[in-house]
Amino acid sequence: MEITFPLVANAVIAGLLLGGFYAAVSVGVAISFGMLDVVNIAHPAFIILGAYIAFTLNAWLGIDPIVCAVAVSPLFFLLGAGLYRIYHAAFESRGRGALPGLAFFFGILFITEVVLILIFGVDYRMVKTSYSELSLHAGSIDFAFRLIVPFVVSVIMVVALHLYLKHTFFGRAVLAVAQDPLALRLMGVNPVRVREVAFALSIATAGIAGAFLIVIQPVQPSIGREYIGLVFAVCVLGGLGSVYGTLVGALILGLAETFTATFFGPSWSPAVSFGLLLLALAFKPTGLFGR
């Protein structure tokens, strides 16, 4: 294939826009896995659930899917809080460690997927928004709105989370619980409560990211698995538990995937995120910015 400037430029633009979306997908795991040490591999299942809720509300009321997702995000927050309570009662409080918890979340992932299949079937679902077909043109470069809108909202969400964690009392408590839960207890803060709210927050971001997903591409219940590698690759690359690191990792992954799809064909792109993850785990498990 001939490598031309428009081809490369389009790949760069699409990769960066996709990367913004990947940041929204992964930021929840940066919180749950990176800060709380809860290995929530069911995170992508909640993204798909969010996508289907946005799809249903959009088909029913005709509201923009992203607006729907933000509106139902409190429900995801409650779902996350409930899930954490079960996880805490069954695993953390009994000192059973993260490994049986992995099987627990794997089961949750599987149940969510099968329930969605039973309700919606295995067909691909998509939504049409007012901007789905529109795009900006700058010379030979295209900016598709179905990528730009999720990108912008994602970046706003990620930056807001970063500011929240860095500058509010509660946000600092979350960072503190990652470092030293005992010290936090001595300060009169209940670490379990802090972890519960932080985990709930991470699930709420998954619900919103689901709406981005269905704006960007058609969704089917079992595509969630492809995102497991992606979210963990982004988090490991970005250095666990760093929100801005997650953004950078997501942009790198977006670029790597679009370049692979452009130059080797889309059928190879699922291997990119997992390949990068394996490489990162093997050679630099502390992430690009890790000490």
Binding site: F91, L99, G107, F110, L118, I228, P270, A271, L281, A282
Partner: protein, 317 residues
């Protein structure tokens, strides 16, 4: 009971079962029984790493598919007999286990778990793009016309082979359980840091366990192309293998060889019944719910109940 005595008894039980089943007229029974035995091997294999060592492997489907595809490719290229295909697939999957383990086992346990998921997706992408092995369209494997050893149908022959492989897997699992290797693995499961400090060569033991476990999963896959006769990547890498391989030991109990076997026979049979009477989506839902239920409420599994009941009975009141 010594290993030799256990092996002899297990082989005898297997032989009696295999012979007795030949009197069953309905060929569908052999299809169902083959699948249950497949799950028995997969969950026994998973338990070597998951139950004995405490490392969760989500990539059962990847190792299984290595066995499946090594058989397809070697059969297509050289027309090797089934025995050699079984050995080749086992060795290749075992080597893949060592490779993956070497890359990720030095990290904390959940990185290994995530890497096994990664392995499954990467191999899936690779196989989908590999035209010689059928690519995304899938590959046909023609079952040999003459059935060896005078079996009336090929599926009966495959079933008998599978009984033998299951017995083999169980003997190996029990040998590991009672050996120094098994004690080392249990030490890693209980407290890896303490084990390392006490002089247990943790990395080497984990690599051995990963190789044995991965190889055994490959073993389960080697006969699969001849069972299904048409293999495509989505089917070979189906998540149901990964979920069942975890759910069955969790439900049966993870500390002994009997647990995974019990879980596989119970859950495998239930699934065969539900699949025929209701639908396959519902049967996956049942597996998921049972997995979550047992792992949260009864982490010791059915064997845990049995052991607790026996301990209560033997205690003088």
């Amino acid at each position: 009971m010594s290993n030799t005595r256990f092996a002899i008894i297990a082989l005898l039980v297997g032989a009696v079962l295999a012979v007795a089943c030949q009197f069953i007229q309905n060929d569908y029974f052999f299809n169902a029984a083959y699948t249950v035995l497949l799950y028995a091997i997969l969950s026994t294999a998973w338990n070597i790493l998951g139950g004995y060592t405490g490392y969760v492997n989500f990539g059962t489907a990847a190792f299984f598919a290595i066995g499946v595809y090594s058989s397809i490719v070697l059969y297509k290229a050289f027309h090797l007999p089934l025995g050699l295909l079984i050995m080749a697939g086992t060795v290749i999957a075992g080597v893949a286990g060592i490779g993956l383990g070497y890359l990720t086992l030095r990290l904390r346990g959940h990185f290994f778990a995530i890497a096994t998921l990664a392995l499954a997706v990467m191999l899936f992408t690779f196989v989908t793009n590999w035209d010689y092995a059928g690519g995304a369209r899938g590959a046909y494997v023609l079952v040999p016309r003459e059935v060896p050893f005078g079996f009336p149908r090929y599926i009966r022959y495959l079933f008998t082979v599978m009984v033998g492989l299951t017995v083999l897997a169980i003997i190996v699992a029990r040998m590991i359980e009672r050996s120094r290797l098994g004690q080392g693995l249990a030490a890693i499961r209980d407290d890896e840091l303490a084990a390392e400090c006490a002089g247990v060569p943790t990395l080497r033991l984990k690599l051995i366990a990963t190789a044995l476990s991965g190889g055994m999963m490959g073993l389960a896959g080697t006969t699969f192309p001849f069972f299904i006769s048409f293999v495509e990547p989505v089917g070979a890498f189906d998540l149901r293998y990964a979920v069942n391989a975890i759910a069955m030991p969790v439900i049966g109990g993870m500390t002994t060889w009997l647990g995974p076997l019990l879980g596989a026979v119970l859950l495998g049979t239930v699934q065969q019944l539900v699949q025929v009477t209701i639908s396959s989506a519902w049967n996956l839902l049942i597996v998921g719910v049972l997995l979550v239920g047992f792992v949260t409420l009864a982490p010791e599994g059915i064997m845990g109940w049995v052991l607790a009941w026996r301990a209560r009975r033997s205690k003088p009141t």
